[in-house]
Structures are given as structure tokens and as C-alpha cells.
């Protein structure tokens, strides 16, 4: 078991974003969280990764995790390679090459496009050699080539780990093994 959630819920003020969710993820699983905007997909991913506290319930997960969030910020004055070094990557260039970003290795991220940032976040997540990869809208800002890269990396990762991703992109559901609709 790579990840297990039991009766998890998150409340903001009076409003429950999600409540009483229980599920578990095994090696080889790609779980797609779907649902309309505001259904709590991103919030659930942040709770799963521990960046947000749960209001109720508990989670068990194998550390380290790899997390690439849509609204995860990067340091504008650091380059892609420096980000990976900060994250302890042994071979930053290899990680950058895996997401086709080696050409921009020394460029500071304030000069990156949205798609390049998304790729770098994916490289940072993978650099942790995680058992569980958590991705928030991983292909939302990507072109066709970028989507293919994500698909290949997910396929490779699930051989020894698991993936939980939030998406509204129909193509992403093609490589999901399970789907959890949040409404």
C-alpha cells in the first residue's frame, strides 16, 4: 500500500469541500481525481501531500512523495538546474532532459513559460525518487510534446510506484487505472 485515506474531510468556514472520503492506492495504480471546478481536487491533493491539514480523517503515505501542483511557486531568481540542486538531485541535467528542459537549464524561472514551469515542477517531483507521485493538472499548460512526456513519465513511474492526479483533460483519463469523481 502506497497511500491510504480514511474518512478524510476538509472544511473552510461552514462549507465542506469534501467529506468522508476513503480510498487507497497500490503500486501500479494511476488514480485520476475528476470533478467540476471547485469540487476540491486540488485541495484534496494538498491534503494528501500534507501541505494542508485535514479537518477530519487520516492519511498514511510512503515518504518521500513527489508533488507537482498547479499553484506551486518556483523561485524566480533561481534557474531550473539550481532548483534541482536545491532539491538534492544527484544529476540535475538528467532530470531536466527527462522533461525536455535541458536547453533552459541555466535560465532563471522568471523567464520560463507556464508550460516550462509545469515541466520543471514535474522534474522536481520526480527528483525525490518518490513512491507516490501527486500531480495537479499535470498537462493543463502543456503542448502536445509536453503531454506525451508526462504520459511516458507516468507510465514509467507506475512500474514501481503509484500516481494520484487531478485532471479535467479527457486524454489524461486514458492512462488512469482508477477514477474518483468529486462531483
Amino acid at each position: 500500500m502506497v497511500f491510504k485515506a480514511e474518512g478524510v474531510g476538509k472544511q473552510y468556514g461552514e462549507r465542506w469541500i469534501f467529506r468522508s472520503l476513503s480510498f487507497q492506492v497500490e503500486t501500479g495504480t494511476v488514480l485520476a481525481l475528476t470533478g467540476r471546478n471547485g469540487s476540491g481536487k486540488s485541495t484534496l491533493l494538498k491534503c494528501i501531500s500534507g501541505l494542508l491539514p485535514l479537518t477530519e480523517g487520516s492519511v498514511e503515505r510512503e515518504e518521500p512523495i513527489g508533488f507537482a501542483g498547479l499553484d506551486l511557486a518556483l523561485y524566480p531568481t533561481l534557474s531550473g538546474r539550481e532548483h534541482l540542486k536545491l532539491f538534492g538531485a544527484v544529476d540535475p541535467d538528467k532530470e531536466l532532459e527527462a522533461v525536455s528542459l535541458l536547453h533552459a537549464a541555466d535560465l532563471v524561472t522568471s523567464g520560463y513559460s507556464t508550460g516550462m514551469r509545469a515541466r520543471l515542477k514535474l522534474a522536481l517531483a520526480l527528483s525525490q525518487n518518490p513512491k507516490l507521485l501527486i500531480l495537479d493538472e499535470p498537462t493543463a499548460a502543456l503542448d502536445v510534446e509536453g503531454r506525451k512526456i508526462v504520459e511516458n513519465l507516468i507510465a514509467k513511474h507506475r512500474e514501481n510506484g503509484a500516481v494520484i492526479l487531478a485532471t479535467n483533460v479527457q486524454e489524461d483519463l486514458g492512462y488512469a487505472t482508477h477514477e474518483l469523481n468529486l462531483g
Partner: protein, 227 residues
């Protein structure tokens, strides 16, 4: 791929990141430098005809050091909050490492700031330094103490709406006794007071610094640990 798991290795990584960021966008450094230069120039002009005595000189220098520190040092922590990069750090580093990395960087910045400010002040005000060793040690102790207070309070106010104001207000109870101790040391450095008092004050300043080192990590764990 292995992770560098020791707190020291992680602290070094954060420190290195702070240095690189500061060298590329040295807003904090330049705001402190501008404040320092303006203040010591003003004091220099004001006291052109009459040199301040050791007591007054120590008081003025302490106030300048304190305010330049409080105005520039919280930036290191609060900017993480504002640009949203704290989450990135929390994903990779232990809370203690984030705290110690920031503290190390802020202490180094404050020491450079204090040293430069003190030299400028001595030159502009035409002061004589009677005990340079004690003065230098006092500046080190003062840097450790101010940094400890500011980083501790910075960690507490992260996420608050008026964080820039709050950090100053919250650090005042720490900084006021520190100011008294700092004045005691600097006064002796400029030739007034007793060596015993100066040593006690140096000890007090280091004590305040140790308080930040001791209280900070459990506080950081409580605030930033991923549940």
C-alpha cells in the same frame, strides 16, 4: 535517487539558496545599506562640531543597528510566504532545516550589516574605539541576538495579513532587553563603563541568540511540518 537527509546538509542547501537569491536580487541588502548610509551621514552632520560621548554613541549605534535589522531581516522569511515558495521548501526539507538555514543566512547578513554600519558610524562621528576586541565581540553577539528574535517572530507571523508590521511589533519584547545589553557592550567598547558589565551583556546577547536557536526548531516543526 538519495536525499540529503542530515539537518546540517539541508541547512547548508537553504543557506546556499539564500545567498544565490540575495546576490541576484539584493533588495534586502541595499535597503539596509541605504538606511545605514543615510542614518550615519545624518548623525555625522549633526555631530560635526561635537563628538558624542561613549554613552550617547552606544545608544545611537544600537538604535541604528536595531532598526536596520528589523527593517531588512524579516524579508528572508516573509518573501517565501508572499511568493508562495514555502510549500516548495516544505515538500523537500525538514522544518528545522528551513529554520536553521534562514537563521544562518540572516545572522550572516546582520553581522555584515552591523560591522559596516559600525565602521561608518565611527568614521562619520569621529569616535575613538578604546576596546576594539569587546566592540567586535559585541557586534557578533548583537547579530546573533537580533537575528534569533527576528527569525523567530518572522516564523510566527508567516501567513498573517499584516505580517510586515506584526514582525516588528512581536519582536519588540525581545529587542528591547537586547538593546539595553547592546548599549552596555558598545559603551565599554567606546571607553565608558566596566569590563564586568560588558562581559555580562555579551553573555546576555548570546543567551538571547541561543533562545532563538532552541525555541525556533520546535516552533518551526509545529508550524511547517507536513501532517
Amino acid at each position: 535517487m538519495p536525499r540529503t537527509n542530515s539537518i546540517w546538509a539541508e541547512t547548508q542547501a537553504i543557506f546556499q539558496k539564500e545567498i544565490t537569491s540575495e546576490l541576484r536580487n539584493s533588495t534586502g541588502f541595499w535597503s539596509a545599506a541605504l538606511f545605514a548610509l543615510t542614518t550615519v551621514s545624518a548623525i555625522g552632520f549633526a555631530s560635526a562640531r561635537e563628538k558624542p560621548g561613549p554613552e550617547l554613541a552606544a545608544g545611537i549605534l544600537t538604535a541604528v543597528l536595531l532598526f536596520s535589522g528589523v527593517s531588512s531581516l524579516p524579508r528572508s522569511l516573509l518573501v517565501e510566504d508572499e511568493q508562495g515558495t514555502l510549500e516548495l521548501l516544505r515538500l523537500r526539507f525538514e522544518p528545522e532545516s528551513i529554520y536553521y538555514g534562514k537563521l544562518l543566512f540572516v545572522t550572516a547578513m546582520q553581522f555584515i550589516n552591523s560591522f559596516v554600519l559600525c565602521m561608518l558610524y565611527i568614521a562619520f562621528a569621529g569616535l575613538s574605539v578604546v576596546h576594539p576586541g569587546i566592540l567586535a565581540l559585541g557586534l557578533v553577539a548583537e547579530s546573533v541576538a537580533i537575528s534569533g528574535a527576528v527569525v523567530l517572530c518572522g516564523a510566527v507571523v508567516m501567513g498573517a495579513t499584516s505580517r510586515w508590521l506584526l514582525v516588528g511589533v512581536l519582536s519588540m519584547p525581545f529587542l528591547l532587553p537586547q538593546s539595553a545589553a547592546c548599549i552596555g557592550v558598545l559603551r565599554y567598547g567606546f571607553g565608558a563603563g566596566f569590563s564586568e558589565t560588558a562581559w555580562i551583556n555579551i553573555g546576555s546577547l548570546f543567551g538571547f541568540g541561543l533562545l532563538g536557536i532552541a525555541i525556533g526548531p520546535p516552533l518551526a516543526r509545529a508550524l511547517w511540518k507536513r501532517p
